[in-house]
Amino acid sequence: MDKVQAALLEVRDLRIALSTRRGSVEAVRGMDFTLARGETLGLIGESGSGKSLTALALMGLLPDGAQVTGSIRLDGQELVGLADAQWCRLRGNRMAMVFQEPMTALNPVHPIGRQVAEPLRLHRGLSARQARAEAIALLERVGIQRAAERLGAYPHQFSGGQRQRITIAMALACGPDLLIADEPTTALDVTLQQQVLELIQALVAERGMALLLISHDLAVIAGAVQRTLVMYGGTVVEQGPTRAVFSRLAHPYTQGLFAARPQLGAGRVSGLRLPTIAGTVPELADLPPGCPFAGRCPRTIAQCNAALPPPVALGEGHTARCIRLGDNV
C-alpha cells in the first residue's frame, strides 16, 4: 500500500459564502488541495483571509448562514451537504480540531476529565470507567502530570499551556485520521508555544495522522509542516512544499509577508524600516474580481484586475497564482 498516494482529504473548488449585512459575500473562493495520511500541511496568510473558515468548513462547523459549495472528500466520502447526524459521527472521531484560545475552548463548568472522556463515550461507547482510564492515559501522553488526580479539576485551575494540552488530548481521544489545529499556540508565550508544537508534531509522527496547521507565524509553519498553503483574500495564492515556498517566495504577497518580519538578533539599526505591504486588506464585499492582492501589490498591472490568475506550476507541486511571476520588477 502506498500511503502517500491515497489522499485522505481532497478539497476541490471549495467556496464559502457568508451572508452579511451587505448581502452574500464569498469569503473563500475556490480552494483546491489534497492531504494524505501522515502528511502535514500548513496554512498561512493575512488575518481575515479565510483560514479559519476553511478549517471550520472541513469540520462542518461553519456559522449559520454560511453556504459551502465545491467538494470536500474524506477518504472518498463527500462531506459537502452531509446531514448533521452523519457529521456528528465524523467529528471528534475521524477528524478533530484544536482551537486557538485554550481558555475559552474548554467548558468552564465541567471537570476536564469529563471533557476529555466525552468523545470516547460518544464515539466509542466506552463505559464511564473505561473512558476514565483512557482519559488518564491521554492526559499523561500530552504531559499533564499526575493526570489521575487532576481529572476532577476545572479548566481555570490549569495554566494556559496545560489547557492547550488538554484540548489536544480531547482532539486526539478517538485517534482521528485528520487533526486540524487553528492557531493552537497564538495565545501562549514562546516557551509554551515551543512545547505545544513539539507535542503536536510528536503525536502526528507517532499516530500517522494528517495535520492541517493554521498559523500566521511563518517560523512556526516553517518548523512544523511539510507542505504550505499561502492564503490571501479567500484564495490560495501560493502552495507547495514548505521548503520550496519559503525559499522561492514566488508570489508577491508571500514576499511581502516575509519581508515584514522583524529579525531576531538583527539588532537595532537607526533609520532602518521594515518593508511593509502598502494599503489594507479589502473588505470581503469589496474584493476585486481579479487577483485579490492587486491594488496592494507593487507589480499590479491592469490585467491583474481582470480575472483571478490561474495557478502557475513552479515544479514538484509548487504553484502560485500570479500573472507576473516571471517578470522582474
Binding site: 508565550d189 538578533g265 537595532r268 533609520g271 532602518l272 505591504i277
Partner: protein, 266 residues
C-alpha cells in the same frame, strides 16, 4: 537637559497584589510581583522588557505610568518622583508620558469617535477649544498616517493596524517625552505589525520620543530597542543591548527563551 541624562529612572521597585483572605481575621496573603526592579532610560532611546507571561511586565508598565502605586521604590520622570506628586501636579505631568496598550480592539472606546478618542489626553489636561482639539487631532492623525476624514469614524470601522495607529495618535497628542507601550503589536498580523513598528521608529527618530516597550516577542524588541531587560518572576535577570543579549544569552532563563523562538531557516 542634556540628551544623555536619564528621562525615566526606576529605582528598586517592589510590588505585590493582595490575594483573597483565607482566614477571617488573619492578614491577607500577598502575591509578590516585582522584586527590586531598577533601570533608567535616556531621552530618545528605547528600552525593551521581555519575559514570560505573569513575570510582571504589565505591572511594571502600570507603575511606570503612575496608574498603580508601588509597595516601595520610586519612579522618576525628569527628576520628579511621580508617586510623590500631588494629584493635580501628576495630572499636569501626564502630558509628558503616555501609554499604548496591547489590545487595539479593547483600548478604544467603541462609542466614541476617533477624534474624541485621540483628543482625550488633551481634554484631560485642560479645556482645549473645539478648533484647537480638531487641529491637533488632524495633526497627530496625519503623523500616524491616517486620513483627516477618519476623525469622525468609530473604531469598529478600522482594521487592527489602523486602530493601533489611533492608539498611538492618542499617545502622541500631548507631545510626550515618554511612551510606555505594553505589547503594542502582539495582537497584529505580521504585515500590519511591520507598519506599526515602522511608525514607532519613525516617531522616535523625528520627534525624539522615548519608549518603554514591553513585548514577549524577542524579535520585535530586538528590532526596536537599544537596551533590553529580561524579567523573570519579577526580577531583572539579565540586561544589555539586544544584539549581544540574544546572540549570547548568559542567564539560563534568557537562554531558554531564546532557544524557544521558532526560527525561519531557509
Amino acid at each position: 537637559m542634556s540628551a544623555s541624562a536619564p528621562l525615566l529612572q526606576v529605582r528598586d521597585l517592589h510590588h505585590h497584589y493582595p490575594l483573597p483572605r483565607t482566614r477571617l481575621l488573619g492578614p491577607r496573603p500577598m502575591l509578590p510581583v516585582l522584586h527590586g526592579v531598577d533601570f533608567s532610560i535616556t531621552t530618545g532611546r528605547s528600552l525593551g522588557v521581555v519575559g514570560e507571561s505573569g513575570s510582571g511586565k504589565s505591572t511594571l508598565a502600570r507603575i511606570a505610568m503612575a496608574l498603580e502605586t508601588p509597595a516601595s521604590g520610586s519612579v522618576q520622570l525628569l527628576g520628579r518622583d511621580l508617586h510623590r506628586l500631588a494629584p493635580g501636579a501628576l495630572r499636569a505631568a501626564r502630558r509628558d508620558f503616555q501609554m499604548v496598550f496591547q489590545d487595539p480592539y479593547g483600548s478604544l472606546d467603541p462609542r466614541q469617535t476617533v477624534q474624541r478618542i485621540v483628543t482625550e489626553p488633551l481634554r484631560a489636561l485642560g479645556r482645549p477649544t473645539r478648533a484647537e482639539a480638531a487641529a491637533r487631532a488632524a495633526e497627530v492623525l496625519a503623523q500616524v498616517g491616517l486620513r483627516p476624514g477618519d476623525a469622525h469614524k468609530y473604531p469598529h470601522e478600522f482594521s487592527g493596524g489602523q486602530r493601533q495607529r489611533i492608539a498611538i495618535a492618542r499617545a502622541l497628542i500631548t507631545r510626550p517625552r515618554l511612551i510606555v507601550a505594553d505589547e503594542p503589536v502582539s495582537a497584529l498580523d505580521v504585515s500590519v505589525q511591520a507598519q506599526v513598528l515602522n511608525l514607532l521608529a519613525e516617531l522616535q527618530e523625528e520627534h525624539g520620543v522615548t519608549y518603554l516597550l514591553i513585548s514577549h516577542d524577542l524579535a520585535v524588541v530586538s528590532h526596536l530597542c537599544d537596551e533590553v531587560l529580561v524579567l523573570q518572576g519579577g526580577r531583572v535577570v539579565e540586561r544589555g543591548a539586544p544584539r549581544e543579549l540574544f546572540a549570547h544569552p548568559q542567564h539560563p532563563y534568557t537562554q531558554s527563551l531564546v532557544a524557544a523562538v521558532p526560527r525561519l531557516v531557509v
